[in-house]
């Protein structure tokens, strides 16, 4: 079946370093969403990408959607302790337009 894989599974960085998580789908995605879940919290929507090659920025966060719409990335510049959490990508399942599949998530921890 369709899979949405994220790498890395874990990332431990020094505060101030950059961080990137990658999301790869086995099939073309019509759109992709990104969510952040703080430790002990719930997923919170960050952004949605729809167009091939799309790039969107939110302050220190940069989101990209691949040209083939099969991969996406989230890059954080100069991480801060508030960035700690698990980042998920999510996209529609190929066989069911009404079902969204979440990636496996990347857990980011930061050394102050």
């Amino acid at each position: 079946g369709q899979q949405v894989m994220q790498i890395p599974q874990y990332q431990h960085v020094q505060e101030g370093e950059d961080f990137t998580t990658y999301c790869n789908s086995s099939t073309t995605l019509s759109n992709i969403q990104w969510y952040k879940q703080r430790p002990g919290g719930h997923p919170v929507f960050l952004i949605q990408l729809v167009k091939s090659g799309e790039v969107k920025k939110q302050k220190r966060l940069t989101f990209q959607f691949g040209e083939a719409k099969k991969n996406s990335s989230l890059h954080i510049t100069a991480t801060q302790t508030t960035d700690v959490g698990t980042y998920f990508c999510a996209g529609p399942e190929y066989s069911s337009a009404s079902k969204i599949i979440f990636g496996s998530g990347t857990r980011l921890s930061i050394r102050p």
Binding site: S30, H42, P43, A90, S98
Partner: protein, 117 residues
């Protein structure tokens, strides 16, 4: 002004018991979901409802039965609880199902941590 609320926040119970988790959203959304998040943080959809109609029913044991009395509520009842049911259950809502595979953003509740002993 909680957008999506769930009760209870924590639920500790014995194997074999029956329990319910309640979810309410005050966003006026048409679509609601139940997700299960296991200890490895994998987030899997269980059910989704649109205007009280069941849209997605993933391969979950039929011990799990969702009920949507109205658009603003989606409850989850679990019969004969098993150890493997221990997880965090999230309710979520979105404006609609989306169109042509473009999904509306989802708003998640705070989660219910279920522990089965």
């Amino acid at each position: 002004d909680t957008a999506v609320s769930q009760t209870p926040k924590y639920l500790v119970t014995q194997m074999g018991n029956d329990k319910s988790i309640k979810c309410e959203q005050n966003l006026g959304h048409d679509t609601m979901y139940w997700y299960k998040q296991d200890s490895k943080k994998f987030l899997k959809i269980m059910f989704s409802y649109n205007n009280k109609e069941l849209i997605i029913n993933e391969t979950v044991p039929n011990r799990f039965s969702p009920k949507s009395p109205d658009k603003a509520h989606l409850n989850l009842h679990i019969n004969s609880l098993e150890l493997g049911d221990s997880a965090v259950y999230f309710c979520a809502s979105s404006q609609d199902l989306g169109r042509q595979g473009i999904f509306d953003e989802q708003f998640f509740g705070p989660g219910t941590r279920l522990t089965v002993l």
